[in-house]
């Protein structure tokens, strides 16, 4: 079984982004980029399937600017077998990403695709569901557990009221939630080995996909800031403030 994982290059989760003064976006100059944390979980899950003998090959795909190759290298250093880079400087929105990944899936014919449930930059939470739709595959979103059982994937999903398990006919698509696994760090020897692993380069035009954005960005603003509060000295003072000043408890 071949497993395809998609990995996105995003502003590192530790960076507090700043909105540009002209309102055209956030400032990403001289900011650290990393693999989207949910995609690290996707890579890890694919590797575990390979290590348990369920998967034979793990292919990591990234889409976007030249530097996405670094993100693919990270996946390769974790243990993925090869990479595919869809190179473009255009802004890629989730529907376009789903179409590009579908074109790749049509070529690669994986039995399973694992992607992060959400990218921590645009916070859209769409690509996996869209890709499953375009492929006509079932989807197991927000997965906290994945069991491959013959030609079915059993996915336990984190839902608002608890957990839900669904059984999907393969080929299937899974999106990862935080509790699925704890991703490994790449060891130095594996980082060296990853440098020799192949990355195939392609473009949206090669894949025949129109990536024109459907949503036009009008402006980006800073959210309203909270006024700084006060420190209280005792529990009694806290209760007094909440009752008599903020009036949020009776």
């Amino acid at each position: 079984m071949k497993v395809l994982v998609a990995v996105k290059r995003v502003v590192d989760f530790n960076v507090k982004v700043r909105v540009k003064a002209d309102g055209t976006g956030v400032d990403t100059a001289n900011v650290k980029f990393s693999m989207n944390p949910f995609d690290e979980i996707a890579v890890e899950e694919a590797l575990r399937l390979k290590e348990s003998g369920k998967a034979t090959e793990v292919v990591a795909v990234s889409l976007g600017v030249q530097q996405c190759q670094e993100t693919i290298r990270t996946a390769l250093a974790m243990g993925a077998d090869r990479g595919i880079h869809v190179q473009t400087d255009e802004e890629l929105q989730p529907l376009a990403v789903a179409k590009l990944l579908k074109a790749i899936a049509d070529k690669e014919q994986p039995q399973l695709i694992i992607v992060g449930k959400q990218a921590i930059d645009d916070d859209s939470n769409q690509t996996g569901q869209m890709l499953a739709a375009l492929l006509g595959w079932p989807q197991g979103t927000f997965a906290s557990k994945l069991v491959i059982n013959g030609d079915r994937a059993e996915v336990t999903r984190e839902i608002d009221g608890g957990l839900e398990t669904v059984s999907l006919a393969m080929p299937a698509l899974v999106t990862t939630d935080l509790r699925l696994n704890e991703p490994r760090y790449a060891s130095l020897p594996n980082i060296m080995k990853a440098k020799k692993k192949p990355i195939e380069a392609t473009t949206p035009a090669d894949l025949g996909v129109d990536v024109k954005p459907r949503l036009i960005l009008v402006k980006v603003e800073e959210p309203a800031k909270r006024k700084s509060g006060v420190k209280v000295k005792t529990v009694a003072e806290l209760v007094d403030k909440l009752k008599n000043e903020a009036k949020v408890i009776p």
């Binding site: 989760f13 507090k16 982004v17 909105v19 956030v26 989730p94 529907l95 449930k117 921590i120 645009d122 916070d123 859209s124 939470n125 569901q129 869209m130 739709a133 006509g136 595959w137 079932p138 989807q139 979103t141 927000f142 906290s144 999903r157 984190e158 839902i159 608002d160 009221g161 608890g162 957990l163 839900e164 398990t165 669904v166 059984s167 006919a169 299937a172 935080l178 954005p213 459907r214 949503l215 036009i216 960005l217 009008v218 980006v220 603003e221 959210p223 909270r226 006024k227 700084s228 509060g229 006060v230 420190k231 000295k233 005792t234 529990v235 806290l238 209760v239 903020a246 949020v248 408890i249």
Partner: protein, 311 residues
């Protein structure tokens, strides 16, 4: 043209998230129709017909909708969407699962997690864990939208008298099967609908220690929440997680205990009306957003707080 809201319901009742979604839908202009899909869900359709501002309820009552599987639900939405200017659902795990699938089948972009409606095609949505607000304009014929509950005042659950019409079921692609559900049992209010939330973080140290949080929550009629660290450590179940990728809440009072205040957590609660924090580390970032901060050992402060609230 009308707009369609995908309702969320349980045991014959429409969930509060649907009321905020209808509120957003009314701002788009046009009649608001509500789709109630499920099995034996007529009582939920009758409840939806009473929601203020709803013009029509579409009822898809069919065994294939008994469980909220994305594949048959998306197929149903697609079969209805062509006659609507917009399709909306709440940004719950249900809405987030189903709606992007429907959007892709319709070949339109989805606008996720809107917090404001600027016009029929223009919306505001948070990005980068809420550290920026993006205004986006959709160029698609059908706007497919998920609505963040904290951005809108819910419409009234009573007062409407919409007609109920049967909707034709769509073909179920039959790709997925429901296996089981583990529902978290609690007598406390649901997190996203609670007026007061008491949340615990890594500082709680263990799941057992959450009893201290629960004791305070019970005095306040509050819901219990948690940071990612507390969920990852296994102190509490996943559905209590407040944050960028968990639940987004905006109660009247959010009391954060033993939570340092990572940006991912702040993203889920910084729109709360009043924030209070108890943490032994006076440098903890949570104090930068807290209206009232108490630097204290939570193991002393929580029992004291429960006692103080009993007075």
């Amino acid at each position: 043209m009308s707009v369609l809201v995908l309702a969320e319901h349980s045991h014959g009742k429409v969930l509060p998230a649907t009321l905020t979604t209808v509120a957003a839908a009314t701002k788009l202009g046009g009649d608001v129709h509500v789709l109630v899909a499920g099995a034996d869900c007529k009582p939920a359709a009758e409840a939806a017909a009473k929601i203020a501002g709803v013009a029509k309820v579409l009822l898809a009552d069919d065994a294939r909708y008994a469980e909220p599987l994305a594949e048959p639900y998306a197929a149903l939405i697609v079969s209805l969407a062509e006659s609507y200017a917009a399709v909306l659902a709440a940004s719950t795990t249900f809405g987030k699962n189903v709606l992007p699938r429907a959007a892709a089948l319709l070949d339109v972009a989805q606008i996720s997690d809107i917090v404001a409606v600027v016009g029929p095609d223009t919306f505001v949505r948070p990005i980068y864990a809420g550290n920026a607000l993006a205004t986006v304009k959709s160029t698609d014929a059908i706007k497919v939208i998920t609505v963040r509950g904290t951005g809108f005042e819910p419409v009234k659950a009573e007062g409407g008298s919409a007609a109920i019409e049967n909707a034709t079921s769509a073909d179920d692609p039959g790709l997925s099967k429901f296996v089981s559900r583990q529902e978290s049992k609690t007598e406390r209010p649901e997190l996203t609908a609670a007026r007061v939330i008491v949340s615990g973080g890594r500082g709680m140290g263990s799941g057992d220690n959450f009893k201290l949080i629960e004791a305070v929550a019970d005095k306040l009629g509050a819901a219990v929440g948690a940071s990612r660290a507390a969920v990852d450590a296994g102190f509490v179940p996943n559905d209590l997680q407040v944050g960028q990728t968990g639940k987004i809440v905006a109660p009247e009072l959010y009391l954060a205990v033993g939570i340092s205040g990572a940006i991912q957590h702040l993203a889920g609660m910084k729109d709360s009306k009043v924030i209070a924090a108890i943490n032994k580390d006076e440098e903890a970032p949570i104090f930068q957003v807290a209206d009232y901060g108490l630097v204290a050992d939570l193991f002393q402060a929580l029992p004291e707080l429960a006692a103080e609230l009993s007075k």
